[in-house]
């Protein structure tokens, strides 16, 4: 078998998209105008698929902080955290993250993907068992694979299934690592964290919660689902990203366990990559300060996602979950999802197209992510675009209103 033979199926799938005249997985934003607007195919487009939950990418204080760091510390660190790439800013950000969660320490990684890759591969090894929610992100699976850990999946959001699988492990259950996410990125649903914590309390193990999509979004102070459900102290490790609510790039793991510091020495994705640039660290620190200081952005975000969720529900669309900033519209199949995605873009709305096998249960999705920076008019415009597609599909709005 030739080196490139494995690409045949991919090439065929890509060919189908080219034949349709669309490229949903390689969209070029020709000009970015604001957190919620850009130019695509020469047209001003509302961005409703960016994970820019708090809209901080253009915040003047974050930009100013990045400028100062760029001027003072240069464009890059040119080295790993383990060698010459740990500047004062990297350590301060770790301390600030630890203080934000009220935990002992944090580790900063260069991307969100690497935060999971580095934490899981550093924390676990060939003799360890990791119990994953079946819908966990690819970075979690990849981290376990890099570690060589035994990976056992449990049914999505099903604490009883987790308990059953832990009981099968017998004495080994006490040392397992349970991994769940605050908000799942595909459908926007939340983990039943209290019930999962109950299983951990009964059967042992450690709990890692990935709050990539819930940091700054949930909880009174924005500390994610762990805070919203009052189980912060039960999370042994919290992983998060800087590239969503904090508007930068990078990721972290925070923990109250003293062993976290040792993960640095066993984590290849931490050791063998360059650290985040000073400007990235500076804007992230500023964004964290803004996130921690107030509730206004979270309130605005909530208002926006409730509005979009209600609007799409009223139009008769099937949505993936109860309201969250990730709103997934479930479509009949791949072809319908492709058409929807393409037509929304033609109407000036950019969203994400999600197809199997990246999606749970083989569903085809149009995934919207809502920002605090969206104006009510933009949310209305997104709803209007969906309404027009509904009408074009031959389903009268009157039928939708009656729940048909």
């Amino acid at each position: 078998m030739g080196l490139f033979d494995k690409f045949r199926k991919l090439a065929a799938a890509r060919g189908d998209l080219v034949a349709l005249g669309i490229n949903p997985f390689g969209v070029e934003i020709e000009r970015i105008i604001s957190p919620t607007e850009g130019v695509i195919h020469g047209r001003r487009t509302i961005l409703a698929g960016t994970n820019n939950y708090l809209g901080l990418t253009f915040h003047p204080e974050c930009i100013a902080a990045a400028h100062r760091a760029l001027d003072a510390e240069g464009t890059g660190t040119t080295g790993s955290r383990m060698a010459n790439g740990s500047y004062s800013g990297h350590r301060r950000l770790e301390e600030e993250l630890a203080a934000f969660y009220g935990m002992r320490d944090a580790i900063v990684f260069s991307t969100g993907y690497q935060a999971n890759l580095g934490t899981l591969s550093g924390l676990t090894g060939a003799n360890d068992v990791v119990l994953l929610d079946a819908d966990c992100h690819a970075s979690i699976y990849d981290g376990c694979r890099l570690a060589g850990a035994e990976v056992i999946r449990f049914r999505h959001n099903n604490p009883e299934d987790l308990a059953k699988r832990m009981r099968r492990l017998g004495a080994r259950a006490a040392d397992t690592l349970i991994v769940v996410e605050g908000i799942y990125s595909m459908l926007g649903d939340r983990a039943p964290l209290r019930e999962i914590v109950d299983v951990k309390r009964e059967l042992g193990g450690y709990l890692l919660v990935d709050e990539a999509h819930s940091l700054g979004v949930l909880g009174d102070r924005g500390r994610g689902l762990v805070e919203e459900l009052g189980v912060l102290a039960d999370a042994d490790f919290i992983v998060g990203t800087f590239s969503k609510s904090l508007g930068g790039a990078g990721g972290f793991c925070v923990s109250d366990l003293p062993e976290l510091d040792l993960v640095r020495y066993s984590s290849r994705p931490y050791i063998f990559t360059a650290s985040p640039s000073p400007a990235t660290i500076a804007s992230t620190r500023q964004a964290l300060t803004i996130l921690a200081a107030g509730r206004d952005l979270r309130a605005r975000l909530r208002e926006n996602y409730l509005r979009l969720h209600a609007g799409l529900t009223a139009l008769g669309y099937t949505l993936g979950a109860s309201p969250s900033p990730v709103i997934a519209v479930v479509l009949r199949d791949r072809v319908e999802a492709l058409q929807f995605w393409s037509q929304l873009l033609q109407r000036g709305v950019y969203v994400n197209l999600m197809l199997p096998p990246a999606t749970p249960d083989g569903v085809s999705l149009i995934r919207c992510s809502v920002s605090a920076a969206h104006t009510p008019e933009q949310i209305e415009a997104v709803c209007a675009a969906f309404a027009a597609l509904r009408a074009a599909a031959g389903i009268a709005a009157a039928e939708c209103d009656t729940g048909a």
Partner: protein, 82 residues
């Protein structure tokens, strides 16, 4: 404890629910190529198989599992370990 032929028989029944009986399933049936399952569907198949045999099957074994026979041998091994 189930022996190998019993495990294969159980697997054939389990797989038939995934393929809706459209494909004849034998020991040499390739899970991906013959049954047109994608990697996620194979992982979901494992969840069912785990419950049917009351064992935990690490996802890590998947690179070594191509056919029904490969999976049956892994299950035989795991049930023996218990």
């Amino acid at each position: 404890m189930l022996d190998y032929p019993q495990i294969v028989a159980e697997l054939r029944t389990e797989l038939a629910t995934f393929t809706q009986g459209k494909v004849e399933i034998g020991e040499d049936t390739d899970l991906l190529a013959d049954l047109s399952l994608d990697s996620l569907q194979v992982m979901n198949l494992l969840l069912h198989v785990e419950d049917r045999f009351d064992i935990s099957i690490p996802v890590n074994i998947l690179p070594d599992v191509k056919t029904v026979k490969d999976l049956a041998l892994q299950i035989e091994h795991l049930t023996r370990e218990m």
